[in-house]
């Protein structure tokens, strides 16, 4: 990488057209001077021109010669590039399953742009994509993409034409902005309250977290509207504490059953209104990361309620793809060398080590057959608590009592139960 940079810097600083341009300028100067001379005295014309011949020609030749360093520099840079990418083939177009679904890709991109908050770009794109709908191309698994096009179109246009999604993400960014930069909880609390039931059913305590933060803000007097007076109210005037108390009376009622312990804590802290910093409750009140945590939780809940993952799937998938590519290409070259075909079309032939945050589902690989469980071959738990795949169970047991492959326990296959990971 460093030699490439050095080459480019060389090209940029010296090996460029500027020298040739100055040569040309020199020739121009010569001609201009000669012209002035001839114009002043016509009789000198033959002599002046004859004298000009040689230098003029030479300057132009110099201009030509000065190109050489550029040529050499570019060549060197090109060679360095070749070296850099010698064993890195351009990814080929094999195994491209996506060309037959351009409208799905377009939809994914539109949603990606929206969730990144790139509303301007998203609307430009939706406009352009609607004006020029994409042309699907046949691929291995979808030889005739036009057959499926109609439902794909419906699917794709479901979001393409709706401004609802954009509005929702605009709301999300508005609330997040208020949270992070204005430290204003009101829009977030209102949002959570409107979806109180849905959130509760998910086991999310976002609403309470938000309210608790509001309580703390009032207590320490750190809300935007009381910010100016925060300094002196802190230890002299219990106004902050009182408003926090009032807030708790007014808002905490619905939470009493679920968050009794937390509420008792908050109420208990009221007794320390003069020196909360030294009280046992200090960590509740002086937690710098609280805001970021709440913003993060809000972002996740918001996306989940829309059925979307919190981070952009396009981003995760593209990143995982870049991590996976070296393995896949290596596998391809090995297969080409050995002239083998890859027999299972629905499973990759190599294992790709991804960092653990790229694992979203639990994976069950049968310890007997080494196959991943599927809907038709689900994991089965024997009474001893060991799990094997359904097909393995059938093969091992032949429908009579059999010994677990992992412990001395014997059981009948009908006692095994299907489990879901």
């Amino acid at each position: 990488m460093d030699d490439l940079l050095a080459q480019i810097e060389l090209l940029e600083s010296s090996a460029n057209l500027s020298t040739s341009i100055s040569d040309v300028q020199q020739a121009i100067d010569m001609l201009t001077a000669a012209r002035a001379k001839v114009a002043a005295d016509g009789s000198t014309a033959p002599l002046t021109l004859a004298k000009l011949q040689d230098p003029f020609k030479k300057t132009l030749e110099a201009a030509q010669k000065d190109l050489k360093p550029i040529y050499a520099g570019l060549n060197k840079y090109g060679k360095a590039l070749d070296k850099k990418f010698k064993d890195k083939p351009l990814p080929s177009a094999e195994n491209d399953a996506l060309s037959s679904h351009p409208s799905l890709i377009n939809r994914a991109i539109a949603m990606h742009l929206l969730r990144e908050g790139q509303f301007g770009v998203a609307s430009t794109f939706v406009d352009e994509a609607n004006r020029h709908p994409p042309h699907p191309e046949p691929t291995l698994n979808t030889p005739n993409p036009y057959l499926t096009e109609s439902w794909e179109k419906d699917l794709a246009e479901g979001t393409f034409n709706s401004e609802k999604l954009q509005q929702q993400f605009a709301d999300m960014y508005h609330i997040l902005h208020e949270l992070r930069h204005q430290r204003n909880l009101k829009p977030a609390i209102q949002w959570a309250r409107e979806r109180s039931e849905a959130l509760e059913a998910r086991g999310s305590n976002l609403e309470f977290e938000l309210c608790r933060l509001q309580f703390i803000c009032l207590y320490t007097g750190a809300t935007p509207d009381t910010q100016d007076t925060a300094m002196d109210t802190d230890d002299e005037n219990p106004a902050g504490t009182l408003s926090a108390w009032a807030y708790a009376q007014q808002e905490f009622r619905p939470f009493q059953k679920r968050y009794a312990r937390e509420i008792h804590q908050l109420m208990g802290s009221l007794a320390f209104w003069q020196n909360v910093q030294d009280s046992p409750y200090a960590r509740l009140f002086y937690n710098e990361s609280a805001w970021e945590e709440v913003a993060h939780a809000f972002n996740r809940e918001f996306c989940s309620l829309l059925g979307l993952s919190a981070d952009s799937p396009l981003f995760i998938a593209a990143t995982a793809g870049a991590i996976a590519l070296p393995y896949l290409l290596k596998m391809q070259s090995i297969m080409k060398e050995k002239r083998t075909e890859w027999t299972t079309q629905d499973e990759l032939p190599v294992e790709i080590p991804l960092p653990s945050q790229y694992h979203f589902h639990s994976i069950f690989v049968c310890p007997v057959s080494k196959e991943q469980s599927t809907d038709t071959n689900p994991p089965m738990m024997m009474p001893c608590g060991h799990v094997i795949a359904h097909e393995s169970l059938e093969k091992l047991s032949k429908n009579i009592k059999f010994k677990c492959p992992y412990c001395p326990n014997e059981s009948h296959p009908r006692d095994a139960v299907k489990v879901v990971l």
């Binding site: 003029f56 793809g321 960092p355 799990v387």
Partner: protein, 417 residues
Amino acid sequence: MAELTSTKLNAESHLLLDQPLLRMPYELSRRNFKNAQRVIEHASTNLPSTLTAATKAASPSSPLTHLDTLLTKMHTLKRKLETLHAEENKLHRASKARLHHLQDLYAVHSLVDVKYEEWSRTRLSRLLVDYLLREGYTASAAHLAQSKKIEELVDVDAFVACRGIEMSLREGRATGPALEWCKEHGKELKRGGGMLEFELRLQQYIEMVRQGHEAGAEGSDGEGGGGGGEKKLVEARAHAKKYLSLSGDFELMGRAAGMLAYRPWDEVEPYASLYSPSRWDHLANLFVYTHHTLYSLPPRPLLHIALSAGLSALKTPACHSAYTPSSTNAASATTTVCPICSTELNELARNVPYALHTKSIVEDGPVVLPNGRIYGSERLRVFNEKVGTEEGWVRDPMGGLAGEKWRESEVRKVYVM
């Protein structure tokens, strides 16, 4: 046996997708340099002789006019060179920015580093711009590049030029711009041995013959003979002799000659397919293919390549399963939605193979509920604490607050190997 998970980042092998990033400005620099070379060469062979002519000119006033034309020419030369120089600078700047961008990756050693995430986001934006440009969504591409401030990392102009020529073939049905492009890239094309120029010339011939036949048909309807048509056909023959006869493909020559006898509306093969308008699409595709090969651009959008690999690497049988897996579901706040299960990619991932795993991946301390659902014991505890289940009871996170609940004693340990 490969490791199941790895967070080590090997920058060297990670650059597979990034070769075009550096190749493109390099190829453009070379083209730019060649243009400069041609301009200067042209000047230094022609201009000195102009000066000689001026010297030899007899009349007293002509030296001045000669000098003036010479000066104008020199100024044009300088202007041309300056334009090329500006372009050269722009390309070098782009190359440098790209090198710095790639070098940033070498400073990151872990895939879980925040810096890697940042870098990867920029890369995604690059890939998106590349995709948008290839699909012809030029305005979106430019807009995205601008808003992400990655103009130096993407080749909007080059793709716009390519798109322009492609559309001139596909929709404008004109061979001019494409032939012009062939002329500019003559040397490389000759080395590559592509058929683009020949196919374009053949198309010109076909169009001439078509016009000839059409004019002939009109002519025979009226009083005057088909003189115009006849003339056009003769022209076509001359064109074929000049451009096509050198190919050595006698079978094609025979077919081309046959076209002089069979008219477009005769619908006789193999001539009908030569007359067919679908040839324009073929030409457009051939042009794009030739263009991309010449500039070391992969034939498919880089986004496709990255995405198909990524979808497969992430996909599990659970992603399109009829049963909601316990490990991830949208109904529980203790899990995140899997990107493949997310609306954006779910349908897209339907046709790709799923990832190979040789070992089970389960949460720590798996326990099974009486309904067969397996959870990590820690996650089950956290969930039940959050929803405030009564002491001694356990609720299935699947159903949220209204989920089934059992006594703690009914929860069993499960062994997944």
